[in-house]
């Protein structure tokens, strides 16, 4: 198991290194000189040259890359070419916001998916199970932003129960923070939950067909208690895996939901960066997202081993 951890870590590190080269490379081949882009169409060549020097863009690509990478390793994200402000604190601020959204969205998804998926599996031949299946199918088919708009129309505009949008940091006004968090987290979580529900269903179905569960039922346990005692741990393995993958989807889904709910998260930072051609900022945010996804995948892998005793031994 230790070895496996070492191996996975090595793979992670190599992946991180390669992806940093990819991200840097992609930005480097983008048409347009960042300095000229930052200064504008009418800038003089001298001004551009001066800015290039100021940003260090006159150095070789390799130097720039290692400089950037070295900075990242010290949590120094550089200074924006456009706003001339340090990027690190901005990213950190926005990341906190997005993390709240993603984590609470994930919790919503789990709270929806685990019971719904289990019921769907346990009653897969019954009307209630089929009805739930149909609902989850519909949930998967609705774009997250549409769900958001509908939630706003209903709960904020029509009923006036919750604010339509906005963001308040939890420290400054916890009540407002929660009220503003509910709708975006729901629109992110419900749609994601619908997807997750179907994985839970199939994982539970698999477990239901296992011999030990049949035995347990043969011994007279009713389906839900039998599942509870024997099944859920086993069903958790594939679900956790999917959850890890979905975290990446959620991070990106947050981009759209942030737009609908006017939340100053990483997604809006990224979109602003792209439209302002704030290349270094975009590069940093993309790298951060990629790192997040890779690290989550790594953790899922590790968790996977921890959850499945068969895999822990290192053999089938």
């Amino acid at each position: 198991m230790v070895l496996r951890l070492v191996e996975r870590t090595a793979v992670l590190l190599v992946s991180l290194a390669v992806s940093s080269v990819l991200v840097f490379g992609f930005m480097a081949v983008l048409p347009g000189d960042p300095a000229r882009v930052a200064l504008g169409v009418n800038a003089s060549d001298e001004a551009v040259a001066q800015l290039r020097e100021q940003f260090g863009l006159d150095r070789s690509l390799a130097t720039q890359y290692f400089d950037w990478l070295g900075g990242l390793l010290h949590a120094d994200f550089g200074t924006s070419y456009v706003s001339k402000v340090a990027i690190g604190p901005q990213i950190f601020d926005r990341l906190q916001v997005t993390l709240w959204l993603v984590v609470v969205g994930m919790i919503v998804a789990l709270v929806v998916a685990v019971p719904a998926g289990t019921v769907m599996a346990a009653r897969h031949r019954k009307i209630s199970g089929l009805a739930l299946s149909a609902i989850s199918q519909l949930g998967v088919a609705v774009p997250a932003f549409l769900a958001g708009i509908l939630l706003i129309m209903l709960f904020a505009v029509k009923l006036g129960w919750l604010p339509a949008n906005g963001w308040t940091p939890p420290a400054s006004d916890p009540g407002m923070f929660l009220r503003q968090l509910i709708l975006p987290a729901l629109s992110l979580g419900l749609v994601q939950g619908a997807v997750l529900t179907r994985y839970v269903r199939s994982a539970v179905l698999d477990v239901l067909r296992e011999d030990y569960l049949r035995t347990a039922r043969a011994k007279g346990l009713r389906p839900f208690p039998a599942l509870w005692r024997h099944g859920l741990r086993n069903a958790a393995v594939p679900v956790v895996t999917v959850l890890g993958l979905q975290l990446a989807t959620l991070l990106i889904g947050a981009v759209v939901v942030e737009r609908v709910f006017v939340i100053p998260g990483l997604g809006s930072l990224l979109l602003d960066g792209v439209s302002n051609r704030d290349l270094l900022l975009v590069q940093d945010v993309v790298m951060l997202l990629v790192v997040a996804v890779l690290v989550v995948n790594f953790l899922v892998d590790v968790l996977y081993v921890a959850l499945d005793p068969r895999l822990r031994v290192g053999q089938r």
Binding site: V2, R4, V6
Partner: protein
């Protein structure tokens, strides 16, 4: 008969196992631990042993579908152990296999005609419909069977198709890997008899593998008993059956009554084991 059809010397096959410790390499799985045997031309040679004893590995190495860790396989005078794939043409023409699982041994997306003709096409023979019909006839299937797909046949019929495919390139050596163990009891005898008849008729060398000593006894003149990657006993089938010398063989022989019972129905566990070992 100057040289044996197949000569296996000191064959070893290890499979790596994933490391579980940083410091030591994991001990490899020893699938074969020094197997030697000789099969004479025209001989019907049986290999018997439990699931997982290394039978299938041995067959695959003989058929050059897997590579040995060490040791030597000589087929009709040629050492194939280190030959690259492109120089194995003679082997591909002269040695064919029949597999255990009638479900998995035929490509579900191909017509029976194309399945049987595949070795011919691959080896550049003119794939005449004539030959396919001839083969279908030889295994007891009607000529229109060629137009159908494998799933339209029963297990026994599929095994006949497998046999027809194996015979297509007119091999001199036929290797049968548990050809009947996945079949219904009722059709086992038919398929066994078919193999037996064809081997006689075409004057083939047969290697027949089974976990079932009684089946081997039915078909083979000589038998090797394998256990845990090693051959523990070799000899004429009748002798081994009548007077097993190795304790493991004795256990196998004494288990035959149980096997009889197994044949009459309670084969689930065996079958599952069989499936897992492949």
């Amino acid at each position: 008969m100057t040289e044996p059809a197949i000569q296996v010397t000191d064959l070893v096959r290890d499979y790596p196992r994933p490391r579980t410790s940083l410091l030591r390499a994991s001990p490899p799985v020893h699938a074969l631990r020094g197997v030697s045997l000789e099969v004479q031309e025209g001989e019907r040679f049986g290999i018997v042993g439990e699931s997982g004893c290394g039978k299938s590995t041995l067959l695959r190495i003989i058929a050059a579908l897997d590579r040995a860790t060490s040791g030597q396989v000589v087929v009709e005078g040629t050492d194939i152990t280190r030959l690259p794939e492109r120089r194995l043409r003679f082997l591909r023409e002269n040695l064919q296999l029949v597999f255990q699982d009638p479900m998995s041994s035929l490509d579900p997306r191909m017509r029976v005609r194309d399945i049987i003709a595949e070795p011919l096409v691959v080896q550049g023979h003119p794939a005449s419909g004539e030959r396919v019909r001839e083969l279908l006839d030889a295994v007891g299937l009607s000529a229109d069977a060629g137009d159908r797909y494998p799933h339209q046949f029963s297990g026994g019929q599929r095994q006949r198709i497998s046999i027809a495919r194996a015979l297509a390139p007119r091999p001199r050596i036929l290797i049968a890997d548990e050809p009947v163990s996945a079949l219904d009891v009722s059709v086992r005898a038919q398929v066994l008899n078919l193999i037996s008849d064809l081997v006689d008729e075409l004057n083939l060398t047969l290697i027949f593998v089974s976990h079932d000593l009684s089946v081997v006894k039915h078909v083979c003149s000589r038998v090797a008993v394998m256990n845990a990657g090693q051959i523990v006993e070799t000899g004429p089938t009748a002798d081994v059956y009548a007077a097993p010398t190795h304790p493991y063989t004795r256990r196998l022989v004494s288990a035959i009554p149980t096997l009889q019972r197994a044949l009459s129905g309670a084969t689930t566990t065996d079958l599952v084991k069989g499936v897992l070992s492949t």
